[in-house]
Each structure stands twice: as structure tokens, then as C-alpha cells.
């Protein structure tokens, strides 16, 4: 049983080895001249400014939460639609209940003003 997993183990070992060799050879044989420009976060020539952790309006957070909520709804729709024919009326009833619960939350968020930017 476990022997079936040998291919995955081989893949793991090989990929780790290749990565180590590629990085290792470069570090051992490559020339290393440190300069200020090289140690910058972006080597593309863009000079960074400001702090790394900037403040974001907390509203984005709310939008993200609501987005995830409806995103999951859509994800849930997909497998449901695939087996809808087998589930018949039961599937429909389940989905109606699911949507109703979601609508309660949606109505709550709407009424509380979570969907307004200002």
C-alpha cells in the first residue's frame, strides 16, 4: 500500500535536490560583490519610499468579508448544479434554504449600511 507513494517520494527528493544544486552551485562558484543597489527590495530600479506597513481604510476589510461570503455562495452553486438532476426537488429545497439564510445576512448587512462606502 505504502509502496504506491514511492513515486511521490522520488519526486520530492529529486525536486529538492535540483533546487539545492542550482542554488548551491551559484553560491559556491559565483562572484559575490555586494553593493547598495543590489540589496534594495526591488532590483528593477524603483527606489522604495515610505514604510512597509501602511494603514489601509478599514472599509476594505468589510468589503473583503462580504466578497468572501458571496464568493463561497457561487462556489457552492457549482457542485449543486452538477448533481441537480439526481437531487430533484430536495436539492431545490436545500438551495432555497441556503439562499434564504444568506439573504437574511445580506439584508442585515445592507440595512446596517455595510454596503455604503461613506
Amino acid at each position: 500500500m505504502l509502496i504506491e507513494y514511492i513515486a511521490i517520494a522520488v519526486l520530492l527528493v529529486l525536486s529538492t535536490a535540483v533546487a539545492l544544486i542550482a542554488v548551491g552551485l551559484g553560491t559556491i562558484f559565483g562572484p559575490q560583490k555586494k553593493s547598495e543597489a543590489k540589496s534594495m527590495p526591488y532590483e528593477s530600479g524603483m527606489s522604495p519610499y515610505g514604510e512597509g506597513t501602511r494603514r489601509m481604510p478599514v472599509r476594505f476589510y468589510l468589503i473583503a468579508v462580504l466578497f468572501i461570503l458571496f464568493d463561497i455562495e457561487v462556489v457552492f452553486f457549482l457542485p449543486w448544479a452538477v448533481v441537480f438532476r439526481q437531487l430533484t426537488w430536495f436539492g431545490l429545497a436545500e438551495m432555497v434554504i441556503f439562499i434564504t439564510i444568506l439573504l437574511v445576512g445580506y439584508f442585515y448587512a445592507w440595512k446596517k449600511g455595510a454596503l455604503e462606502w461613506e
Binding site: 437531487l87 426537488w89 430536495f90 437574511v104 439584508f107 442585515y108 440595512k111 446596517k112
Partner: protein, 484 residues
């Protein structure tokens, strides 16, 4: 009807369904209740709990399983669901005036509380690990939000975040355990696990899975060494929330723990019994010893809550011994009731003395309470005596049943640990009493009807049940008998 669902599926979890629909309706209804009248939301929430309690009691005596064996309705679930719903009612009663006084009045409080109760009830009824997981999330997530309800106070925010992070962490353990158990047995239902385990498939994986489950539940019921979050969360959360979660989450956690271990892991007795015994002993010792040095009443009660988790855990230690098991678990259930009643009373007194901005929570603030407000001080004395296990209180009867069951199970050393730690606990509980009677002070007490009602009623129950414990113990015993 259909191959997917039967009417009996729905009646099996009818109280939980009714409460869910009620909570959803309450969420919408609350939007139209003006801010000055948020008390209505509390009344409506209490009404929902009463309706659900009615259905639970009407269903008493019936047994059924639903959703292809994923949920069970039996005497055990009826007993604990009734206890949970009553806890919810106490939770609403304590919150009613408290949240207004503290400026936390929001309708969502009661909606979240109802959803949490639904999660607890499903956890009691679950007979499949997936349902346990979902129920645990449903009970925990509202509690995370409730703990952080007082956002203007940094301690409350800390409590919410800490509870959320550590709770999610512990849920991770639980899910990992479920995954390993599924890997070992190919099933998540308790009956499927037993069937596979008796057939003798890779039992090491199963043992590790069971141990991880124990860690997950250990976090929820605050057993040492998984108790680190408890004092900070109990202290930071609004007191009415603490009162509810210290009882409710414990009841649900122990219920699920018992069902899982008794029904799914009877084959692992040899491995798990020593672990449970050690956990119980550690929890009793740790909780009681650290409580000795507390000066804040909320932290004191938090450590007391940890210590009591240890006492209740004792009831589960002889779970593999069929002769002792029913009596021992009945003792555990009785103690859960005793703890819930006493605990709500004690927190009610704390709420009566608490003032804006976290004032009035030191034990020294209780100085001279007896000379200022005699009924309140006497009630607090009753609760402290009950937590020690001193007659004539329900706590003493509960401890008597527990120690007897543990000795019958052959764990005399555990009973000795229990008795010695109870003696240690007398020191810090009695310090509160000494403060109330023998120190000079000017404590100020609030007088909200429902808070007074809660501590008054629970004080009476604490004393009366100690004189006639037999009906309650008989109910607990019959609840356990139907379990097996």
C-alpha cells in the same frame, strides 16, 4: 418520502432548527427595533429559548437518529439540551440590564447568543465527527465576537482576539484528529469507527487521532495544560458573556467528549484512561493552585472554572469500565448542572457589583458587602461554599457523587487529589467570604431586577437541590442509560 431526507431527520433536531429560524428572524427584526428599546430583542430571544426548551421537553423520552446517523436524539441529548437552553436563558437575563449599563447594548448580542446555543445543542446531539466540527465552529465563532463586544475597552478586544486565535488553533488539532481517525478507520461516524476499530485496523493512527481530539476538546473545556487562554478571555470579555460561555461551552465540550469517547473509542480504553486521569489530576491541581494568588474576582472565577473542568473530567476517567461508567457519567452530568447553577449565580453577583470601566472587580471591592447588602452577600457565600463543595449546597452533593464514582472505578488516588485540591480551594473561596463579612468597606451594588432574579433563584436552587438531589440524579442516570 425521498432517499435524501425523512421527516424524522428534522424532528430529531427540531429544537435546534426552531432556534436557528428564530435567531435569523431576530436578526432581521432587531433592525427595526429602535435603539432605546433594545430590551425587546432580549425578550424575543428569551421567548425563542423558551419555545425551544418546550419542544425539547415535549420530545423527552423519545429516541431517534437523523440524517443517516449523523445526529441523535436520546435522553442524554434531552438532558443536556435542556440545561443548555436554561443556561441561555440565564445568559439573556444577566445581559439584559448589564449591557445597557455598560453602554454595550446591541441587538446582535442576543442573536449571537442564540446561534451559539444552537451550536452547543448540535454538539450534544452529534454522532458524527463532521457534525461535531461544524457544531464546534457554530458555538465558538459567536463567542469570539461576543468576547470582543466591548470594543472600546482594550482588554475586551484582547480577549476576543486571543480567544479567536487560540480557538482556531485548537480547532486545527480537532480537524487533524478527525482526519487521522478517518484515515485509520475510513469513517467519521461513531458507529463506523467502532466497527473498524474492533476489526483491528491500524490502531496507532486511531490512538493518535483520539489524542488530538482530546487536545481540541481540552482547549474548549479549559483543561490544564490547554487552559492558558481562559483567565485573559474570561477577564476581558463582558461579564455577562463570560458567565454564559464558562457554563455553556463547558457543557457542550464535555457532552461531545463523552459521546465521542464512549461511543467511538471503547477499544482504546487502555491507552486513553491514563491520559484522561493525568489530565483530570493536572487540571484540578493547576486550576486550584494558581487561583490562590488571584486578586481579581473575574480571574479567580476563571481559575475556578479551570479547576471544575478537572473535577468533571474525573467522571470520564473510568469510561471504559461498563460497571462503573453509567454511575460515573451520571455523576458527571449532575456536576455539570451543579456547576452551571452555582456559576451563573456567582457571575450574577459579580455583575451586580461591577461598575463602568472594569471597576468593582477586585476582591477587596467586596469588603463589607454583608453590612451593605445582606441578601447579596449571603447568596455569594452560598455560591462560594458550593464551589468548595461544602454542605448544604449542590456542589457538595455533586462532589460526593463524583468522588464515589471515581473510587468505585478504582482510581482512589484521583479522588484523593480531588479532595486535597478542594481543601486548597477553600482558602481562596473563603477569602471572598471573609472580605464580605469581616472587612470594612463601602461597596456599591446595582439593583437590576433580572440580575437579582438570577442570583436569587440560583442561590435557592443551590440549597434546595442539595436536600433533594435524588430526582435530578435519577434523571441524569436515566439519560445516561439510554446512551448505551
Amino acid at each position: 418520502m425521498s432517499q435524501y431526507i425523512n421527516p424524522s431527520d428534522l424532528t430529531t433536531i427540531l429544537p435546534a432548527i426552531v432556534l436557528t429560524v428564530w435567531a435569523c428572524a431576530l436578526l432581521v427584526a432587531d433592525l427595526f427595533i429602535p435603539h432605546e428599546r433594545k430590551g425587546w430583542t432580549a425578550v424575543l430571544a428569551a421567548l425563542g429559548l423558551v419555545v425551544s426548551l418546550d419542544i425539547t421537553l415535549i420530545q423527552a423520552g423519545g429516541t431517534s437518529t437523523g440524517f443517516k446517523g449523523m445526529v441523535t436524539l436520546d435522553g442524554f441529548s434531552t438532558f443536556l439540551n435542556a440545561l443548555l437552553l436554561v443556561s441561555g436563558l440565564f445568559g439573556v437575563a444577566l445581559a439584559y440590564g448589564y449591557v445597557r449599563r455598560m453602554g454595550l447594548e446591541r441587538g446582535e448580542y442576543y442573536t449571537l447568543l442564540l446561534f451559539s446555543v444552537v451550536g452547543m445543542m448540535l454538539m450534544v446531539q452529534a454522532s458524527d465527527l463532521i457534525v461535531v466540527f461544524i457544531a464546534l465552529e457554530l458555538l465558538s465563532i459567536p463567542l469570539y465576537v461576543l468576547a470582543a463586544l466591548n470594543v472600546r475597552q482594550i482588554e475586551s478586544e484582547e480577549a476576543g482576539l486571543k480567544y479567536f486565535l487560540l480557538g482556531s488553533f485548537s480547532t486545527g488539532f480537532l480537524v487533524y484528529g478527525i482526519a487521522l481517525i478517518f484515515g485509520a478507520t475510513g469513517s467519521t461516524s461513531y458507529s463506523g469507527i467502532v466497527t473498524a476499530a474492533s476489526a483491528g485496523t491500524s490502531s496507532l493512527l486511531l490512538t493518535i487521532g483520539a489524542a488530538l481530539l482530546l487536545v481540541g476538546f481540552g482547549f474548549k473545556v479549559a483543561a490544564v495544560p490547554f487552559h492558558m487562554w481562559t483567565p485573559d478571555v474570561y477577564q476581558g470579555a463582558p461579564t455577562s458573556v463570560t458567565a454564559f460561555m464558562s457554563s455553556g461551552a463547558k457543557i457542550a465540550g464535555f457532552a461531545a467528549l463523552l459521546r465521542v469517547f464512549a461511543l467511538a473509542f471503547p477499544t482504546l480504553t487502555a491507552d486513553l484512561t491514563p491520559i484522561l486521569a493525568a489530565l483530570a489530576a493536572l487540571t484540578m491541581i493547576g486550576g486550584n493552585l494558581i487561583a490562590v494568588s488571584q486578586t481579581n474576582i473575574k480571574r479567580l472565577l476563571a481559575y475556578s472554572s479551570i479547576a471544575h473542568a478537572g473535577y468533571i473530567l474525573m467522571a470520564f476517567v473510568p469510561y471504559g469500565n461498563p460497571q462503573v461508567m453509567p454511575v460515573s457519567v451520571a455523576a458527571g452530568l449532575f456536576y455539570l448542572v451543579a456547576y452551571a447553577v452555582t456559576n451563573f449565580g456567582a457571575w450574577g453577583v459579580v455583575i451586580a457589583l461591577e461598575k463602568q470601566g472594569g471597576k468593582g472587580l477586585e476582591i477587596s471591592d467586596y469588603a463589607g458587602l454583608f453590612w451593605k447588602n445582606r441578601p447579596l452577600a449571603l447568596a455569594m457565600t452560598v455560591f462560594m461554599l458550593s464551589l468548595i463543595g461544602f454542605p448544604p449546597t449542590i456542589g457538595m452533593v455533586g462532589k460526593f457523587y463524583l468522588f464515589r464514582a471515581v473510587i468505585d472505578g478504582g482510581f482512589v488516588w484521583l479522588a484523593i487529589v480531588g479532595v486535597v485540591t478542594s481543601l486548597i480551594s477553600a482558602y481562596y473561596y473563603l477569602r471572598v467570604v471573609v472580605n464580605m463579612f469581616m472587612q470594612e468597606g463601602e461597596p456599591q451594588t446595582g439593583s437590576e431586577f433580572w440580575v437579582n432574579f438570577t442570583w436569587g433563584l440560583t442561590a435557592l436552587m443551590t440549597i434546595i437541590i442539595s436536600f433533594v438531589p435524588q430526582p435530578l440524579f435519577a434523571w441524569a442516570s436515566s439519560a445516561v442509560l439510554r446512551l448505551f
